[in-house]
Amino acid sequence: MSGISAMALLSGAALRARRPIGNELPDAAVTGPFPSIDVAAIGLSKSYDPNAKVLDDISFAVPKGEAVALIGCNGAGKSTLLRCCVGLAPIDEGSACLFGEVLSTLPPRRLREFRARVGFVFQQHNLVGRLSVLSNVLHGALARTGIRGWWHQIAASIERERALHCLELVGMADCAGRRADRLSGGQSQRVAIARALMQEPRVVIADEPVASLDPKAAEEIMTLFAGLMEKGRITFLFSSHNLQHALRYSARLLGLSGGSLVLDAPAKSQTISSLREIYDSPAADA
């Protein structure tokens, strides 16, 4: 995609923003030429195998403060796309942008600064099992605390207090001293969210955050995300197989099928039966 059309895409997305501006967190360090666009992909393609593209010419933009759900069947490329969005997976063609800047042009230090403002919640939570819950949450502040954020025993009192507050927000304060590998799946996911909150994020990206949870815990986690969005005006991009969650907790839907973006529409315009077509399309079986 050319530079002009990329700019048009980013500008257009900015106009569509439902809740522009208003993030109260200091974000001067991560403001690019398109400050109202938090996450974007421009003609993004990616393949693990030279003969099969996992992602093919994906373009979208998520304006500041918007909640976007990414849906698609297994192997459609959802996780890869989310990982590309923060530079965790290299891109073959096109670009991924954070806060209006193309990630591939950023020097490593600046990329770390950008990532520090993106809370990434993984499906398998990815906590450090042998460390305490409090230490895991403190890791969310590593970009600003450095060495003192490695373990809670050496962390500054103010950061410890902040980490405990994040745990309170997710209802896990009473588990602060417990080892992370002694937690249940739901508890671990809550701690992973607390770690993301500790980053004071402008954007939260969640890769199937409730896939491994029972329906009750899944509902609690999604409600938690929705509450956090209301409070912090955080941009929220999440992938899910749960179509009800996608419709209820997002303002806009992106649909992936066979590595291509086949849907980019307001959530209000969609129904569960219309979304099911994405799973039934021939590309989904490819």
């Binding site: 042998r130 460390l131 970009a143």
Partner: protein, 260 residues
């Protein structure tokens, strides 16, 4: 296609060929190391005589043996501890996923391989020439030997650490050092402790041998006693060595069970 009987004999495959080659090498080696059951049986009375002369052990020199065994343990402890610390930093460079630059990775791997492949006795001989007789030379040899042992196992433990938490830390803007100390080290800690304890046991046994080339410790006492045919005094040294090795192994096993 009509059914047919398989041939009675087939040309050996590559696996069978190497198996036969190994067997031939084994037979050739056995023939050249002078394996002689007759000679062994003839030597049994001598072994019995030496064992007879060893008992009762000479307790007059027990203080001297005690001092030497304490020195042996100190060499093992200090050498292993220094080696473990140096191994840790070298292992970061020698770990495929955590080394900052590919040339450093290859260099670190080469250093660890060199330290591991050259026997500790050779290092001890080198250090005796370099820094003189005594426990310092032995301690340096143990440091090098520990780096060769722990450096490899530490690096492998780091490479095997679960990638998920590391990716999570990278995603939130952590630096390479943050990822290593916050995620890799906690995950690899049981393996670090295990390798370190094995290393201490190995160093304790090594430090006995190192004394034979003048690198301090009880080895020199044992050597002198054997060369002077003073087998009862040698028995005291051997019992002290046995006690030290067993004690270190027991303590090491207890720590391993408790921590891991």
């Amino acid at each position: 296609m009509p059914n047919s009987l398989p041939p009675r004999f087939q040309l050996p495959g590559l696996g069978s060929f190497f198996g036969l080659l190994t067997l031939a090498l084994l037979i050739h080696s056995a023939a050249n190391v002078g394996l002689s059951p007759g000679q062994f049986i003839a030597g049994l009375p001598h072994i019995g005589r030496i064992l007879g002369e060893m008992f009762p052990p000479d307790l007059d020199k027990v203080h001297r043996v005690g001092t030497a065994i304490a020195e042996t343990f100190r060499m093992a402890l200090v050498g292993t501890s220094l080696g473990i610390v140096l191994s840790f930093f070298l292992a970061i460079l020698a770990s495929r996923f955590h080394s900052p630059f590919p040339p450093l990775y290859f260099l670190a791997r080469m250093v660890v391989s060199l330290f591991r492949t050259v026997p500790d006795l050779v290092w001890a001989l080198l250090f005796v020439v370099a820094v003189g007789l005594g426990p310092f030379a032995g301690t340096l040899a143990i440091v090098i030997d520990t780096i060769g042992f722990c450096g490899r196992f530490f690096a492998e433990a780091m490479e095997e650490a679960h990638q998920g938490p590391q990716e999570a830390l990278r995603a939130l803007g952590a630096r390479r050092a943050d990822v290593v100390f916050c995620s890799v080290v906690p995950a690899a800690l049981p393996s670090f402790i295990n390798s370190s304890l094995f290393s201490l046991e190995k160093a304790t046994r090594s430090s006995v041998i190192l004394g034979l080339v003048g690198a301090g410790g009880i080895g020199i006492e044992l050597k002198v006693a054997m060369e002077m045919f003073n087998y009862s005094q040698a028995a005291t040294a051997i019992l002290a060595i046995f006690g030290l090795v067993i004690a270190v192994e027991q303590v090491s096993a207890a720590i391993r069970t408790r921590i891991i």
